[in-house]
């Protein structure tokens, strides 16, 4: 049986998982693809730290050792970050090597450019592992919704924040305490900024939107709100109303446009996304014909992510056998038209504080009436002369919310502490 030689860049958690899976599942891969897989060389910074690597794998600190190796047909990029990952991938593609990467930042930023370069060199560029680790969502959207009109893709695509939110909701912890615990257990990094500000989820929504709607976005094209300002009080209040707060990425067709956002939203407890807890991820794809579908699994971790990398490697290998490399991983292309604020209507959870004095509630209801919006549920609690009002509204457009915020801002005694969308 012929062997497909692989060059790998980086040997961290995912890279070690890839090696382990190739060794453990050699027979199955051979059974399915008709080829043996062999990792021939790995680019590492510190070879002395990887003395345990077995199977005759050559460690190198020089990228050219891999690029110039004529035997290597697949380069697997697992070093992360934009530079030098981008340059290494470009060199590999120009040397007519197929590329598999798990690098969401890079793909969300330079995906179309790199895909074009791959195509021009008759090479594959695949990146299933860049979104939701163990959930095979990109290939599924590609292959299984190709004749349906997807109307929405939304999901919990960041495990760190989902772990924090699950603890806040189930243990009643503050954001700060939940973050510290997550860091202790290794579910959050020492610098959690990219996760908790929603940036990581935003990169994934860029890629999901490419696959679902064929559109090219950057993370600057839409609103991204993290969980770092979420209060324990609001999490509790949401719970009392029958909701859990989740960091949800939404990409949704509205009329001819697409609305994209990453933000904390209230999810009803009987909604499929409400049951996704801790480090798990889930992506819900709604198609005009197929209705609601949901894909659930681990969003991160060495082996789950390695599984997605391996699914790309076996796809590339099948293409090598069939001599069909060079097709776009995602070949659906549409122009992006953002939905206008007017068109985006959701119920909102509004958390408000004001002095507990006569006439305040009247002001609030007057503002709501003026902007033609209305309450669905409301509770008021009081502490130290401050009233805390929590409201679930009926559906309001983005413009109505904007107007509401402006009016509240002009009332010196009323503070809008939080406004979150409510899913149905």
């Amino acid at each position: 049986m012929e062997t497909v030689q692989i060059g790998m860049l980086g040997l961290g958690t995912v890279g070690s998982g890839v090696l382990q899976m190739i060794q453990n599942n050699e027979d199955k891969v051979a059974n399915v693809t008709g080829r043996q897989l062999n990792v021939k060389k790995v680019l590492v910074k510190h070879p002395e730290r990887h003395q345990k690597v077995q199977g005759g794998i050559e460690l190198t600190t020089d990228i050219q050792e891999i690029i110039n190796d004529q035997e290597i047909q697949i380069v697997v990029e697992l070093i992360g970050g934009i530079h030098p990952a981008k340059e290494y991938i470009e060199m590999a593609l120009r040397s007519r090597k197929n590329v598999v990467t798990a690098n969401k930042d890079l793909i969300a930023t330079y995906g179309p450019e790199l895909s074009r370069l791959a195509h021009d060199n008759d090479c594959d560029l695949m990146y299933e592992a860049s979104v939701a680790g163990g959930i095979p969502i990109l290939r599924t959207i590609n292959n299984s919704f190709s004749a349906d009109k997807i109307t929405e893709v939304k999901g919990i695509v960041n495990g760190t924040t989902n772990y924090i939110l699950t603890q806040m909701s189930q243990q009643g912890w503050s954001y700060e305490k939940a973050l510290r615990e997550a860091q202790k257990l290794g579910f959050a990094e020492a610098d959690p900024t990219n996760d908790v500000t929603g940036k990581d989820a935003a990169f994934k929504m860029v890629i999901l939107s490419q696959f679902a709607f064929g559109i090219q976005l950057t993370i600057n094209d839409f609103n991204v709100t993290g969980i770092d300002r979420l209060s324990a009080f609001d999490v509790q209040q949401a719970g009392k109303f029958g909701y859990v707060i989740k960091l949800v990425g939404i990409s949704r067709v509205i009329n001819d446009g697409v609305f994209v956002e990453v933000a904390p939203v209230l999810v009803p407890v009987d909604h499929p996304l409400a049951t996704i807890n801790n480090e798990y991820n889930a992506v819900m794809v709604t198609g005009q014909a197929v209705g609601d579908t949901l894909f659930y699994g681990r969003g991160a971790g060495g082996l789950p992510t390695a599984n997605s990398v391996l699914s790309d490697i076996t796809s590339v290998t099948k293409n090598l056998v069939l001599k069909t490399n060079g097709n776009f991983f995602n070949n659906y292309q549409q122009r992006y038209i953002p939905a206008t604020t007017d068109q985006v209507a959701y119920p909102y959870f509004l958390s408000i504080t004001m002095p507990d004095i006569t006439g305040q509630m009247l002001k609030l209801t007057q503002i709501m009436t003026e902007i033609n919006a209305s309450f669905s549920q409301i509770t008021q609690t009081e502490a130290n002369g401050i009233a805390r009002i929590v409201i679930i509204t009926h559906a309001m457009s983005g413009s109505q919310l904007h107007e509401f915020k402006a009016q509240i801002a002009s009332e010196p005694t009323i503070n809008l502490d939080a406004a979150y969308k409510v899913l149905k």
Copy 2:
């Protein structure tokens, strides 16, 4: 742009859905595959009943009109049943036409034989729609778990029984009443035998086991128990213990063997499968590397099933463009070794009736002790001098359960009314 001509056999709910999707999503399909799709001819029994069909589609009652049409490259079989569907598909393959089918009975029974015939004629034979309608599970197992060792695939793969069980659990209805309501609403057929006896789910487990483990089974190779003897009392008791009863198909690696079964089982309320209600289906795939994943969607219905048919049609079309037809839809092959009864251990829910007289409970506990099994939870209720005992045991092997049943059978006053596995 070139057009791919399609011949369709049957024009019921799914067939109409396929026509509708091809017409509605023409541009997207063309964008993705580089081809137009056109349904040229449809085989129907009563052309006069389909006067509304548009777009210049030719209706015919003669299969030869389709088989002998040199322009037709894909035959879509949607008439169901074994005969004459099998013969029509064979004729199509021998005429070098690719075949897409939604026929689970046929594929579960003659899949390997037909796949071989397709391969020998350089044609595709795809059948994504044969399992769990709108859930793209077969292609996902194929493409996304190709380098992982799947350890278990289990799921709720029959919408009719799941609808009935949801109503029994949520409304407290008897099986008979829930069935009648399901028939009224169109969720159960006039003759529901195939659904309620578990046969339909068993066909799907045969196909899922092929994809997950590469093994060839028939529905006679494993135990299939339906829901038609499930009592409202047991559903309620399960609820009190924190479980819902679901008809679950299980296919699970145990040591070197595979354990396969379709039966009502108790699912803990916080288990992902417990939240799958009414006509929805879900398939949970557990991989050694990837861990638990779950795929959820509508299990039946014209448009969801049509979406899976279309995903096959676009796959075949991509292969036509690349000239790569003729590969097996599932090319993973392993020998089937059934797990032995000894190896299969689950906790059990046991529902027992006996006269409410002294010494009965002692007998029961003696039997349990004798077979080296033990109780985890137990309740006793009494009505008209009859005691109803419901037990959740600790894990017992199949052999222990067998011995328990034999001992109970020899006690004339103790009746074992039901024994269901309990999932963790």
